[in-house]
Symmetry: C2
Subunit: 339 residues, 2 copies
């Protein structure tokens, strides 16, 4: 299983680390001859390649020392993809929710070539889901994206596999840990600006926090759920989005006086597609504090199912990629030791 | 896909209803020729059979009118199993956690004959898990039991499939809705006896509530998790069990004065196997009230993942059987329309 990895930031590094950590497990499950090996890594400007499998420790050292994964620079990532022999693209380049960026071009190209794709890149999925799924079906390959919604919180594959027989009526959830952290701090009396600053200091929020606090990140996630779970054909532009930047301490205090909190809730169903701050009663499953993500799935037979998990983090997001990798390899190779 | 159903109580009826509700979905997924049909149903004394597929509406009417599923009586369920041509046993006879009862004999026999088995019967799994899994592996058939732990709450297949790459360090949870209902009522000042009576009136507790309130039901479930998720080789006799019948209003009040509640917690890890009442801080994921089940999974890469779902109920438990059925049929037949 030859892996081409486009993107070598936090998540890409985490994934390389997870592959190394699980090498024995993977060998037991699929056999030494099928061990996944990373044959090509692209960062934003350079590429490293070795058909026999890259030495990822050496690559990491080089990246730390020089800021580049390799000596070979490139201008067109699609041309790189076309020049590499691989079985699976792991697309972990930065999310671009304006036009999908290189991630979209990479995924499109890999699928056109009949290669399986695992991604946590929300941009391509929130903009061109239908096109990409059609490409995957046409070329008989897999497109997996568990980590794109809720990080390590199980949601996509849970709905697709475990709940395959359910009619899912709606999913409501907290899909942005940064906003939830800020709102929880505001519950304790902090004004918005101060809570945001603390989120930035702790590394939860970017220097430019727009995508988080204006609700775009959560909107990308509900868009992915709308397409993948509800089989709708929508893009992020179809989401009714209200962010949290105009939430005042007064609004928080008023909510508290009624035993409520304000949370940024994403909701998706056959007819709904919305991200907005809402009043939630204290003690309600969606009234959680901190950076955890949560989703309440309303299923017609099973009833309500709620999941909580870490929505971000290097190893956590990589763990979702590992889950998708196992699923792809189970299908392609089969487990050696199945029970 | 010919189904033999042993047991025709609440869950069996629910499953027949769910199969009917999902007939169009199943036809689209697997094709008309592969539609599951129930070719044999056993209740405790009689059997109904039709190789072409039983008319389940007529069977239900007969059961309501006469108390029997058929005119043919039997004494040995294994002999019935041997006389029927089928592909899948759905074992939903009543749980017997003393010696496994007919359910154990039925499952054993079906696996010996190389037939797939789906069960929600905790007795056989809590007593003879290792033997049954070995039989399944030896005879190359599936043994699925999602509904045996937590009803519609996803847990077994979640750990086996979605979290297949994780080292799961522990699972702690609320696995008995009856106890949780009683303890939540006691939080509001009701004494144990009165809370139990109310649980019985609402149909949450049996006339003989021993299995629930003494912790045996929860113990069977942690045993199943110990064997299936942690690959231990244990039976219900290995569980340290303390029930809730000796919890006093004073203990509840003392806990409340420290901002805690008392909950019956099952815990399982590589070294732990326990069911006992524990102090849980209010606001903690395990401090929930009502009849919901919950499990906190501590995974080494993903971090903590918590799930909530309905732990019992006719259609809810049947929905877990449907999930297992889809998984078995996906493996055996393949989806016609896969994405």
């Amino acid at each position: 299983m030859r892996i081409l990895m486009s993107g070598y930031g936090t998540v890409g590094r985490g994934f390389a680390e997870v592959l190394e950590k699980r090498s024995k497990f993977l060998e037991e499950r699929f056999g030494k001859e099928n061990l996944p090996r990373i044959v090509c890594v692209m960062d934003s400007k350079t590429v490293a390649r070795d058909p026999a499998g890259l030495d990822m420790k050496a690559l990491e050292e080089r990246k730390l020392r020089t800021g580049k994964v390799g000596d070979e620079s490139y201008s067109d990532s699609v041309a790189v993809i076309d020049s590499v022999g691989f079985d699976l693209l792991v697309e972990v380049s930065p999310t671009d929710i304006k036009d999908g960026g290189a991630g979209l071009r990479n995924i499109r190209r890999a699928l056109e070539r009949g290669k399986d794709v695992i991604t946590v890149n929300k941009g391509p999925l929130a903009l061109c889901f239908g096109e990409l799924i059609d490409l995957a079906v046409e070329n008989e390959c897999k497109l997996k994206f568990e980590g794109s919604v809720g990080g390590a919180m199980p949601i996509i594959n849970l709905c697709h596999n475990n709940l395959a027989g359910e009619n899912i009526r709606s999913i409501k959830g907290i899909f942005n840990g940064t906003c939830n952290y800020i709102l929880s701090k505001m519950d304790n009396g902090q004004p918005f600006e101060q809570a945001l600053k603390e989120a930035q200091q702790r590394g939860y929020a970017e220097t430019d926090p727009t995508n988080d606090i204006e609700g775009f990140d959560a909107a990308a996630k509900v868009t992915i759920l709308a397409n993948s779970v509800f089989h709708r054909n929508v893009t992020i532009r179809d989401v009714r989005i209200t962010g949290i930047s105009s939430i005042t301490p007064d609004a928080i205090a008023l909510a508290a006086s009624r035993n409520m909190v304000i949370r940024l809730i994403g909701e998706v169903s056959e007819t709904k597609l919305e991200v907005s701050p809402r009043l939630v009663p204290k003690g309600h499953p969606l009234a959680i504090g901190g950076t955890i993500n949560t989703a309440m799935i309303d299923a017609d037979l099973a009833g309500p199912i709620t999941v909580y998990g870490r929505g971000a983090g290097r190893i956590e997001t990589a763990s979702a990629i590992l889950g998708d990798l196992l699923s792809v390899m189970d299908d392609r190779i089969g487990k050696k030791h199945s029970k």
